[in-house]
């Protein structure tokens, strides 16, 4: 579908069409409804975006005289060992947290798509954690992962002690700190669950009936009806999840900071340190653009791969 196929009166190359009063009204409505976002974006988004491109080629530090450093910041990105460390930490989180959260959200949506009493209450209960702010969530999980008095070890201790395994130190242990964040990511699956629920309820019933008539059991119906019909939603969930996970910050800032041995030094945490603790805002801008390129690259790969797996025929 081309971007011009809406009845906007704008057609490439062709003569300008006279708009009907209804089309004019539609156009006015379009601008009225989009203007709050557009104005907000221009005022608070576009300016900083353009400025940050320029700043990434300088040694800008908010007060000092700014010097043009060309590709200096980008060259330093390559040689800074903490960039690679933070990228590795972030990638670990993305690789494990995104699929786990997506699977968790899908399973929860399947369960909450059943016709049982009080389903609305269950849906509300599972959605509630997602409205907790990142900082509050960080404080809560910091307590959960406390090795001595935290909930996680209180539950695990009766299982681990007979096996002779000592209490995990979670955020205080360089090897367990990142997995702890992956576990914590499941807390927010309520958001994905709502999207999957909407997707599940949009699957035509007749497809299940036809599959049932053909002798398909619940598992085959899931693999051959539910999954293909949900594939655009799964792609959306994976894409948004990846973008958000690459930007993990608030929880790490509150829970462990850089963590033992810099094991929870996530990329955005390091970016904030460079920009606002070390005053190196030019370098921070270069870091931000590197992250943008990485996310763009990963998203593009995802879309290329998705062409083979995602089924968009549901509406037809």
């Amino acid at each position: 579908m081309s971007e011009y196929s809406m009845d906007s009166g704008l057609r490439p190359g062709g003569p300008k069409r006279r708009l009907s009063p209804m089309a004019k009204e539609d156009r006015l409505a379009f601008w009225c409804f989009t203007s709050p976002w557009l104005i907000g974006f221009v005022l608070f988004g576009l300016g900083p975006i353009i400025a940050s491109i320029f700043l990434s080629f300088t040694d800008y530090s908010s007060s000092k005289r700014t010097n043009w450093v060309g590709l200096g910041n980008y060259r330093e990105l390559i040689s800074d060992p903490l960039i690679w460390k933070s990228l590795g930490n972030t990638l670990f989180y993305v690789v494990f947290a995104v699929p786990l959260s997506t699977c968790g959200a899908l399973m929860l949506a399947l369960l909450l798509n059943q016709k049982v009493r009080g389903i609305a209450i269950w849906r509300t209960i599972f959605y509630l954690p997602t409205i907790v702010s990142g900082v509050a969530m960080g404080v809560l999980w910091k307590w959960i992962f406390n090795p001595e008095v935290g909930l996680a070890n209180t539950l695990l201790r009766p299982i681990l002690k007979p096996l002779g395994i000592s209490d995990p130190k979670w955020l205080l242990d360089p090897t367990l700190s990142k997995p702890a964040y992956v576990v914590m990511s499941l807390w927010g699956i309520g958001g994905g669950m709502i999207i999957f629920l909407a997707g599940l309820q949009g699957i035509p019933k007749h497809l299940y009936e036809a599959a049932e008539l053909d002798g398909a059991g619940p598992i085959r119906r899931f693999y051959h009806v539910t999954l293909p019909m949900l594939s655009p939603v799964i792609l959306f969930s994976l894409t948004m999840g990846t973008i958000h996970s690459f930007q993990i910050f608030a929880q790490a800032y509150v829970m462990s900071g850089r963590g033992p041995d810099n094991s929870t030094l996530f990329y955005v945490l390091y970016l904030v340190d460079q920009s606002f603790r070390y005053f190196r805002m030019g370098y921070g801008a270069a870091m931000a653009w590197l992250l943008f390129v990485i996310i763009l690259f990963v998203t593009m790969i995802k879309f290329v791969v998705a062409e083979r797996f995602v089924y968009y025929g549901g509406d037809n």
Binding site: V42, E148, P260, R277, Y278
Partner: protein, 430 residues
């Protein structure tokens, strides 16, 4: 570029430029009544203390009818917000500042030197402040802030626990070994699970121990890391041994993320080293007797580092004279409103009876003033945060027992030197 893109992008770009012009605000020099405007950015502050600051603000407004004092209450990260205000050229006239931030602010050109303003002022002389406090806020030979309070690390202890174990109270000539002896006696496993519940001591900051032993993080000329000196290594080894060998300080897991003072308040730690501003918290939270003493001696006469806070006039101030007057008043006459919470950096106030009210703890208030005689300036370097970040992961590793202090220091020194060299290359340095 097609017509749609052009028709959208041109107005958007124009709007961006217009917004930029509108938002790069200019604050007024005077208000509608012709009074000079002074904007002071106040840091996040507990309500119990804020009440006293509010009294001070009102008092200043009454005594200075020609100045319109406008207080910006900053919430969240003070530093970040001030930096953003600087970037937007709308920095306040006066900022609240800690010693560790001085070098970075000065090198950013964010502060106004106060020497001339102070010299021209007839109400206050530099000699009215504790010399060490003045030294702390002097950089490259210029005074950049007026000290509000002068604090230094002190040893806080629980006399009840000392009596219980037949220990004599800490004295001015206490050494690390005396502290260790007391900490060993106080450390106790009360529930018999093999893990101590009461600890003799909360692990002090490693920087404090290095200082007490005559070591330094960075050389005086700011060119190299000196954590590999014998004094520094000895201090760091003792610091690690408190946890790994003597087990008299809690591990992070056994302290359950509690701050030093909270462990002390819960009677789970017999001693901790902290700055004077923790005093109001202890007054509010402790239902038992507590007192202060000089920190123990390592091999150096310096036992503590100066800290405290100050008021600095920014380089973007449009009324530097009026801004200076606010800072001056707040560190002298105005300080009387808040001095139960701090040790006033103003010598006269620090020695006044009002501050020494015997009805409130700690009993040994004089120690909080005496400590200034054995305190040195803290590390002041524009790359302070980067230096500490380069050190911390390796020392944490040694503190966990995952490597020796010597191994940690071997990795730390080149990293810190790299930060120092990069700073020197960028034209910085003292």
């Amino acid at each position: 570029m097609n017509r749609l893109s052009t028709s959208l992008l041109v107005p958007l770009a124009a709007l961006t430029i217009l917004a930029g012009a509108l938002l790069s605000g200019n604050r007024p020099v005077a208000d509608e009544q012709g009074r000079r405007v002074v904007v002071y950015a106040h840091p996040p502050c507990p309500p119990a203390l804020m009440r006293y600051f509010d009294e001070a603000f009102d008092d200043f407004r009454k005594s200075h009818p020609d100045i319109d004092l406008q207080v910006l209450h900053i919430t969240g990260s003070y530093q970040d917000k001030i930096k953003v205000m600087f970037a937007g050229k709308v920095a306040p006239d006066v900022i609240f500042m800690y010693p560790s931030d001085l070098a970075a602010w000065v090198e950013l050109g964010a502060l106004t030197p106060l020497d001339d303003l102070l010299a021209a002022n007839s109400k206050t002389r530099v000699s009215e402040y504790f010399p060490a406090a003045v030294q702390t806020y002097t950089y490259n030979g210029h005074l950049y802030a007026l000290p509000k309070d002068a604090s230094a690390e002190l040893l806080f202890y629980n006399p009840e626990l000392f009596r219980k174990h037949g220990l004599s109270f800490p004295t001015a000539d206490w050494t690390w070994q005396d502290m260790l002896h007391a900490a060993k006696a106080i450390t106790e496993d009360t529930d018999g699970d093999g893990r101590p519940n009461i600890f003799g001591l909360q692990q002090p900051e490693w920087q404090a121990m290095v200082r007490q032993n005559g070591g330094r993080i960075v050389s005086a000329d700011g060119t190299r890391c000196e954590l590999d000196s014998p004094q520094s290594i000895e201090a760091l080894e003792f610091w690690v041994a408190l946890r790994q060998k003597y087990k008299v300080v809690p591990t992070p897991e056994s302290s359950a993320d509690m701050t030093a003072w909270r462990m002390f308040v819960l009677k789970r730690a017999g001693m901790f080293i902290s700055m004077y501003p923790v005093v109001p918290v202890l007054r509010r939270s402790c239902d038992f007797e507590w007192d202060i003493a000089l920190p123990p001696r390592g091999s150096s006469d310096i036992r503590s580092a100066f800290t405290g806070s100050s008021f600095a006039v920014t380089s973007q101030s449009r009324n530097p004279d009026a801004a200076f007057e606010w800072a001056r008043w707040m560190t002298s006459e105005g300080m009387k409103h808040i001095m139960t919470f701090d040790i006033p950096a103003n010598v006269k106030l620090g020695q006044s009876q009002a501050w020494r009210d015997p009805a409130v703890l700690p009993k040994s208030k004089q120690v909080a003033v005496d400590v200034m005689q054995v305190a040195g300036p803290p590390l002041q370097h524009p790359e302070y945060a980067q230096i500490i970040d380069a050190i911390s992961p390796h020392l944490d590793k040694a503190n966990r027992g995952d490597c020796t202090v010597a191994e940690a220091v071997q990795k730390i020194v080149p990293k810190v030197n790299e930060v120092l060299a990069r700073h020197a290359q960028s034209g910085g340095g003292r």
